[in-house]
């Protein structure tokens, strides 16, 4: 889906049309078009965009050359997005104004890592719910993993404890509350995955 790369700034609440609305503030763009992928050359169509300044000395020579081709400074985050209707050219800038006519937006980001977590937090198991009647230290244990002599194994995909979070998550249909073009800011109703300062991809699903 077409959209922009952004950065999560944080959350606040504003009175939007008389209702106290929880909002996430995102810094969106401006993104520079660094490459156009075409059906003839790469076999599919997409637009490669880049966001967030970085220093020349932190850029590999290969990437430095790539940014030079687009006539722009080195950027930290490079992402390919499909589905732009507008025919962008290499070196063009896409700003927050791009979302001017949108009502709902989707946001993709890497969720906060929670480390190794048990089944109660990770999968919403109920736990035991009682501290007495012989529970000893089994209050948050998963319980039985399945049958015994049949099937003599644990089924694949059984929900168990393990690493939680730190995965790519997409949140659909966040209401666009306000665009502030002077500061490249975007206010979306509700929360967005990831920590403050992490990169997000903001997409507008309405436009195919």
């Amino acid at each position: 889906m077409p959209g922009l790369i952004g950065k999560k700034i944080g959350m606040t609440s504003v009175f939007d049309e008389g209702v106290n609305t929880p909002c996430t503030v995102l810094e969106a763009g401006p993104c520079v078009v660094t490459q156009i992928r075409t059906l003839e050359k790469e076999g599919y169509e997409s637009v490669q965009i880049a966001f967030d300044e970085k220093k020349e000395k932190h850029t590999s020579k290969a990437m430095a050359g790539h940014f030079k081709k687009a006539n722009t400074t080195p950027k930290r985050k490079v992402v390919e997005l499909r589905g732009f209707i507008h025919k962008w050219k290499v070196g063009d800038q896409i700003t927050v104004d791009y979302f001017e006519n949108d009502i709902w937006l989707d946001v993709t980001a890497v969720s906060k890592g929670k480390g190794f977590q048990g089944v109660v937090k990770r999968h919403g198991f109920g736990g035991v719910g009682d501290n007495t009647h012989g529970q000893h230290n089994r209050q948050r244990a998963p319980g039985s993993l399945g049958g015994s002599s049949w099937p003599s194994r644990v089924f694949k995909g059984l929900r168990m404890a393990g690493r939680m979070g730190g995965k790519k998550v997409k949140v659909l249909n966040l209401k666009l509350v306000k665009i502030i073009p002077e500061n490249n800011l975007l206010l979306l109703k509700g929360s967005v995955p990831g920590a403050k300062g992490s990169y997000v991809i903001i997409e507008s699903p309405d436009r195919i």
Binding site: I9, G10, T12, S13, F15, K178, I180, L185
Partner: protein
């Protein structure tokens, strides 16, 4: 943080109220919309705390409604607040007086603060600095 403030400033007009803090008795005049009618209601009680900062700051007001304690949380910058009157400046030692919930009868009284400049806290603070 600054970018959040920029975003907040696009929305709310900062309400101008007299300074008050925990322990003060205040009257909040707030608008209620019933259907398409609007009327102003008053809520008088003791401020338990001021919570948060910036545009999302709130304050809690506790009052006794008959025998039942009622607490209401207002956003400081709510567009529904018309006016706030400070009826009494209370003398308390903490910023959040949750212990006040447990007090009844004669114990549930707050000593009045003796103000050097009774108009507002601002002038009082200035007076102490100089």
């Amino acid at each position: 943080m600054d970018l959040i403030k920029i975003a907040e400033n696009q929305f709310n007009i900062k309400n101008e109220f007299p300074a008050f803090k925990a322990g003060d008795t205040i009257t909040v005049h707030y608008k209620i919309i019933e259907g398409n009618k609007e009327r102003v209601q008053q809520y008088r009680g003791v401020v338990l705390q001021r919570h948060g900062s910036g545009m999302s700051e709130t304050f809690t007001v506790r009052k006794m409604s008959g025998n039942i304690g009622v607490e209401r949380i207002f956003p400081v910058n709510s567009p529904f607040i018309n006016k706030i009157e400070v009826n009494k400046h209370g003398q308390v030692r903490r910023a959040r007086i949750f212990y006040f919930r447990g007090l009844t009868g004669k114990k549930a009284r707050i000593q009045e603060r003796r103000m050097k400049y009774p108009e507002s806290y601002d002038t009082e603070e200035k007076g102490q600095e100089t």
